[in-house]
């Protein structure tokens, strides 16, 4: 049995095809020019409007002061490193805890009824509770309860984990349920057990479906990490606040904001690249 088509000889494009290609090239060159022109026009309009706003000079001075930005940057950066640490730890803890929650919630059988109820209640509560309240309750409640000083990095990670695990667990659960039941059937037919099926067949496929919403939660988590300043941690936001208090200038906040944006962009690009690669590998042909 042959499965590959016979090799084709090199093909010389016909005059018709050459003309079509030339037309397509002209069209795409035209599109590029139009895009550049419209972008320039928009930029000029925005620029002219902003410059001519009466308060622009003051705003520029208090929010976009290059000197203050430079003096604030080292301190904001030091604080930002703490945000990064909390983020790094949270990625691991949220991943593990959310996967656990999602798995517990999909368990069947009467024995697991209380487990399912507890997990459902947990996700309901922590998705409903504003993050800032979680920070207040746990960030100040827990040290009081245990009567010890808990380092802000631990408290911050704990609060981020508690809240974001609830979101991520729901994303994972939806992803698991989106895998077609025939896939489970095929895996079980091969003799794979419940957990083996979950690990080898369902989760890998669920993960592909989950990537976009998961990355959305991740980007959101990246910036919510900035809220741990409430716990007294000297993070990027708190550092910016300190500099602002000394200089009466809001530029440090802009500096911190830019750092958070710079952190988010690679994640967003990485997600796009990753999903595109998965699509290429598993799907033949292109989508119109």
């Amino acid at each position: 049995m042959t499965d590959t088509p016979p090799a084709r000889a090199a093909h010389e494009p016909s005059a018709l095809e050459l003309e079509r290609r030339a037309y397509r090239r002209r069209r795409s060159r035209q599109s590029v020019l139009v895009a550049i022109a419209s972008s320039l026009a928009l930029a000029i309009i925005v620029w002219a409007t902003v410059i001519n706003t009466p308060g622009w000079a003051v705003v520029q001075e208090t929010f976009f002061n290059p000197e203050i930005a430079l003096t604030a940057l080292p301190r904001v950066w030091d604080g930002f490193l703490l945000n990064l640490q909390v983020l790094g730890l949270s990625i691991v803890t949220v991943g593990v805890f959310a996967l656990l929650l999602a798995t517990l919630r999909t368990l069947r059988g009467p024995v697991f009824f209380p487990v399912r109820v507890v997990v459902a209640a947990y996700t309901d509560i922590f998705r409903g509770l504003p993050f800032i309240i979680v920070l207040f309750l746990f960030g100040f409640g827990l040290p009081t309860l245990t009567n010890t000083r808990i380092p802000p990095i631990v408290l911050g990670t704990l609060c981020v984990t508690l809240t974001y695990s609830a979101y991520v667990a729901e994303v994972i659960r939806a992803g698991i349920e989106a895998v077609h039941p025939s896939q489970r059937l095929a895996a079980r037919a091969l003799g794979l057990g419940y957990v083996q099926t979950l690990r080898r067949v369902v989760l890998p496929q669920a993960l592909r479906k989950m990537t976009p919403p998961l990355m959305n939660d991740f980007v959101s988590m990246q910036k919510d990490v900035g809220l741990i300043s409430i716990l007294g941690a000297v993070d990027a936001v708190r550092a910016a606040q300190t500099v602002t208090a000394q200089t009466y200038n809001f530029t440090p906040y802009v500096v911190a904001g830019i750092l958070f944006i710079l952190l988010a962009i690679p994640t967003i690009r990485l997600t796009d690249w990753y999903t595109a690669r998965l699509r290429d590998r598993e799907q033949a042909g292109s989508l119109v």
Binding site: M1, L185, A186, R188, G191, L192
Partner: protein
């Protein structure tokens, strides 16, 4: 001939609807049995029940004289001894063809990866799919996917192969290559129970034909009798739809 798979009095309902109403079926070693019947007659349900992929409501199933319908039996270990192929292939899209074929060997039968892959490649080579072993299933044609799914099912040397209308989702020109593979397996001595609408294939390859209607076995016997000169009027009525 000794019975490999024997089922007695299988009853199965989905809610109020009784799909199997006491089915007895036996499968001897190296026997190829074709299960025929209209859509909704219970063919797929019977295959799933026999493969322990669907709990039964009554009756018993024996594999090598062991009662596998006993809830105390580890169903995973029983399923590992059976092979199943489905109408819509159900290959795992996130795994390469090779990984699909070796999954059960590695994970369930704890075979070293190298040995599992060597065996899978030789099986794939036999049906001309070795070149596509590293591809993901979506790059394959329907016929290639279904043949890969059959190889996945036989990679662990199952005692019984349960084939559930494996050509129903294929174009007529692709049906042939899949049936050819089943013919080879039958010639090699596999024990096969297949639900099918391919009457000429059933006549050529099956040792026995079982006609299922409304959840009961109406008639069974050698294809030369059941397909050519059926005794029961319902069998005759069903078969006229294929001859015209």
């Amino acid at each position: 001939m000794s019975a490999v798979l024997r089922a007695t009095g299988i009853v199965k309902s989905f809610g109020e609807r009784e799909v199997l109403r006491g089915v007895d079926v036996t499968l001897a070693r190296h026997e190829v049995v074709a299960l025929i019947g209209a859509s909704g007659s219970g063919k797929s349900t019977l295959l799933r029940c026999l493969g322990l992929l669907e709990p039964i409501d009554d009756g018993q199933i024996f594999l090598d004289d062991q009662d596998i319908s006993d809830p105390r039996v580890d169903a995973n270990r029983v399923r590992a001894r059976l092979g199943a192929v489905f109408q819509s292939y159900n290959l795992f899209p996130h795994l390469s063809v090779l990984a699909n074929v070796t999954l059960a060997s590695r994970v369930v039968h704890r075979m070293p990866r190298r040995a599992a892959e060597a065996r899978a490649l030789s099986l794939l080579d036999r049906i001309g799919l070795a070149d596509l072993a590293r591809e993901h299933p979506d790059r394959l044609s329907g016929g290639q996917q279904q043949r890969a799914a059959i190889v996945r099912a036989i990679a662990t040397d199952p005692e019984v192969l349960l084939l559930d209308e494996i050509t129903s989702a294929l174009d007529p020109e692709l049906v042939g290559e899949v049936l050819e593979l089943v013919r080879q397996l039958a010639a090699d001595g596999a024990t096969i129970l297949m639900a099918t609408h391919e009457m000429s294939f059933a006549r050529d390859v099956a040792h026995r034909v079982v006609f299922l209607d409304a959840g009961t076995i109406v008639e069974q016997g050698p294809p030369s009798e059941v397909l050519v000169a059926p005794r029961e009027p319902r069998t005759r009525e069903f078969l006229t739809r294929f001859t015209t």
